[in-house]
């Protein structure tokens, strides 16, 4: 069966939305152009387009209508997902595997300019009867989940802070990262509490920027092959979770990531993820979430993520580096974050991760989440790619 390949990757600069005063379609255009350049293609080579964006974050009803042209979809099949950007990858994969198209462009951005907008949009993503009147939003609901996880497994605040320190350290090496500040454990622990147990230096920023990825059939990819490496999509998986976070036990694990990872591992033939995966980019917006994800992705048993981190396995020079990009704690284009992670993972296997390249990164895992109500109705997406052999 013909494989699906990633043949081009493009990032804009990621920065503070307050300082980057460009409309989102300009960011989409820049990312799409960068991906075309990377692939050695022109817009005419693209058969279909998938964008991923949320209307409320962009402040425009059907905001995708202005991304469409920027992502070169005139006269082509073009769809928009109101999901995290990572979810566009399986949709693009299916477009190609259905035999309808040879090349698909995927673009996603974040431009939201304030945490107030994120939290208000998140509040009105909640049902109007039970969650909304209790001032719920994704930070509040993520904090609820974090407190439960922390309590059940006895995670100390110092351990959580350590994750944040590691992410900030990695981001220093990534030219595309948004927050580039070295922080110490003491600084993290002294930073103000946003929603206990989450502190300011443990929480993702809102970043402005876009990423684009071009996928193509194996035949086209090899025909086009330049000196550049190609990343083949080896496995994809995605899954959802109940909205009813009050159901017993549903909070201690990120169930959608467990299911998405299992689907992707099965497709990729991966039996032992920690041994077989060389680098992972995952969507933790807090250290607690990141720890839970390491468990959900099967990198360790439930409740054992701390040991994994302590043994240095996930460090940038460890056996399975996690978030060499600095992750979402340092770069979080809201809505486009998952595609940022996919792009970063693809760049690792394509040997393009300037400054934070993992040596011999042949198999990479990327993970994204639609997290608009925090753990309520969360959805996860996992993409596994390998470099050309």
């Amino acid at each position: 069966m013909s494989r699906v390949a990633i043949v081009g990757v493009g990032h804009t600069v990621y920065s503070d939305p307050g300082s980057l005063k460009e409309p989102y379609w300009k960011l989409d255009f820049e990312a799409a152009s960068a991906a075309l350049d990377d692939a050695g293609m022109t817009k005419g080579d693209i058969d279909a387009v998938i964008t991923a964006s949320y209307d409320l974050y962009d402040g425009i009803v059907i905001s995708a209508q202005f991304s469409a042209g920027a992502a070169c979809s005139w006269w082509k099949d073009g769809t928009n997902l109101a999901e995290d950007g990572a979810f566009a990858i399986p949709s693009a994969y299916m477009k190609i595997r259905s035999g309808m198209y040879d090349t698909v462009m995927v673009v996603s951005h974040g431009t939201i300019h304030s945490h107030d907008v994120i939290m208000k949009s998140s509040n009105i993503a909640c049902d109007p009867f039970f969650f909304r009147p209790i001032a719920s939003n994704n930070l509040v609901l993520n904090a609820l989940q974090a407190s439960r996880y922390k309590d059940i497994y006895g995670i100390s605040e110092e351990y959580a802070a350590r994750i944040s320190v590691m992410e900030h350290g990695n981001a220093m090496k990534n030219p595309h990262a948004h927050i580039k500040t070295e922080v110490s454990i003491a600084e993290v622990l002294n930073s103000p509490v946003l929603c206990w147990p989450i502190r300011a230096l443990e929480y993702c920023p809102a970043s402005s920027g876009a990423s684009a990825i071009i996928l193509a059939t194996e035949e086209l990819a090899s025909w086009r092959a330049t000196s550049k490496k190609i990343a083949y999509v080896k496995g994809i998986g995605w899954a959802s979770e109940t909205y009813q976070i009050g159901n017993n036990g549903s909070l201690d694990k990120i169930a959608s990531t467990v299911k998405a990872a299992n689907m992707a591992y099965e497709m990729a033939g991966i039996k032992n993820p920690t041994e077989e995966i060389d680098v992972a980019e995952i969507a933790g917006v807090t250290p607690y979430q990141e720890l839970m994800l390491l468990e959900a992705l099967g990198f360790c048993d439930f409740g054992k993520a701390i040991s994994l981190v302590e043994e240095g396995v996930t460090a940038i020079d460890g056996k399975l580096p996690v978030n060499p990009s600095g992750g979402l704690i340092c770069t979080n284009p809201v809505g486009g974050a998952g595609l940022f992670s996919v792009a970063e993972a693809a760049m690792q296997v394509m040997g393009m991760a300037e400054g934070h390249q993992i040596e011999a990164a042949n198999v990479a895992l990327a993970h994204g989440m639609s997290n608009v109500c925090g753990p309520a109705a969360r959805a996860s997406c996992v993409v596994i790619m390998e470099s050309e052999k």
Binding site: Y54, V61, A64, D77, R97
Partner: protein, 389 residues
């Protein structure tokens, strides 16, 4: 070569300005339950779900989150949400089709839910769809844009107000046969002409209502369809095309070259050489009569400028050569982000001979036409057939 895909189950809810008996997820559940029953399947049998809605009408950012348990959230099913304006319903179906055609899944549900009745001013929502830097201040909603295209068509081809009125009369006539129709009222050309102008030349009785409603459609692989051995409608071909959001720039003006292009691609895909002779029935997402004109002409059912005559000939009535909208169409029921999916559901019912009083006898090829965002920025066509060849 794409894998063959068939529709084997359809579930619709009743429609009304406001369906007060149900919450958002309960409305979704009702459609899903009916579709499962229609296909003889249970929720466990569904491999993945594709959901579509236009958030802003319902006053919920991502209503898919609250609704997720109606789409298997509890069971961690793969679930994604589509948003492309009015064409959301068609896009949802087209992405669901690719889930099966790609061989990633065998049984997939497309689900659309919309509660336009929850908001007290739909045109205020629609205004937020315009580029805020250029168009937002001119209080553009939807109707004024369609009025512009109506006057353009009148000027270019001399089509008359009475001809537009007749298209609405026929939709109203057909809606009387459909238990799921929102507006059930017999009107005459004289009634339409006497009804007050909303945006001249569009009159009150030519305007779609705003409707609450949900629809679910179940698609399966060829192998699964044989195993189920139920009435099925084959998805013989699907095309989706994107153009500029600025309809002043759109090539062809009222000749709708983008839909014409999608139609040509579809006919080629399905081996259709003479659409008027070969296609038995059309379900058209036309919220105003002008869309009947633009679509019938662009899709080659008559020459440009001749749609008025075609409608006057009686061909598009039940019993005519090419019945258009046996369901009563969108002029009588508009669940906006679901309306495109309902077209596909209704076209499938025709092929499956389950359309009861609105059944077109012997329908073997049914065309579903969808469009949305900025007067047809997105256009789509799907051909459903009784036999593959």
């Amino acid at each position: 070569m794409s894998r063959r895909v068939a529709i084997v189950g359809v579930g619709q809810t009743e429609t009304a300005t406001k369906l007060k008996s149900y919450t958002h997820p309960e409305l979704a559940y009702k459609a899903v339950r009916r579709a499962l029953d229609d296909a003889g399947l249970s929720l466990e049998d569904i491999d993945a779900v594709v959901y579509g809605s236009m958030d802003e009408f319902d006053g919920i950012n991502c209503p898919d989150r609250w609704d997720i348990d109606a789409g298997g959230g509890w069971h961690n099913k793969p679930f994604i949400k589509i948003l492309t304006g009015g064409s959301t319903g068609h896009a949802t179906a087209s992405i669901a089709y690719q889930h099966v055609a790609s061989r990633v899944f065998d049984v997939v549900m497309a689900l659309g839910v919309q509660r336009v009745g929850e908001n007290l001013d739909a045109q205020a929502v629609l205004n937020k769809a315009f580029n805020p830097l250029f168009l937002g201040d001119f209080t553009l909603g939807s109707i004024d844009g369609w009025a512009l295209l109506t006057t353009m068509h009148m000027a270019k081809y001399g089509s008359r107000e009475e001809q537009f009125a007749l298209a609405s009369v026929i939709d109203h006539e057909h809606a009387l046969n459909n238990p799921y129709s929102h507006i059930k009222k017999k009107v005459t050309v004289e009634d339409v002409m006497k009804s007050p102008p909303v945006c001249w030349p569009i009159k009150y009785l030519e305007c779609c209502p705003r409707s609450d409603g949900a629809c679910a459609v179940i698609m399966v692989s060829e192998e699964k369809a044989r195993e189920l051995n139920r009435k099925a409608a084959w998805i013989r071909g699907v095309q989706y095309i994107v153009c500029t959001p600025y309809y002043g720039d759109r090539p062809g003006g009222v000749d709708w070259l983008n839909l014409a292009m999608a139609g040509k691609r579809l006919y080629k895909m399905c081996g259709i050489t003479n659409p008027m002779e070969e296609i038995d029935v059309i379900e058209l997402q036309a919220p105003f009569p002008i869309v009947h004109f633009l679509a019938l002409e662009a899709l080659g059912f008559c020459e440009h400028g001749e749609a008025g005559k075609l409608i006057e000939s009686g061909a598009t009535r039940m019993g005519g050569k090419l019945p258009v909208n046996p369901s009563g169409g969108v002029i009588c029921t508009n669940q906006i982000g679901v309306a495109g999916l309902v077209r596909i559901a209704e076209a499938s019912l025709q092929i499956m001979e389950k359309a009861d009083k609105r059944q077109v006898a012997g329908a073997k090829k049914a065309l579903a036409v969808g469009m949305g965002a900025s007067r047809g920025q997105y256009q789509s066509v799907m051909l459903l057939t009784k036999d593959w060849n």
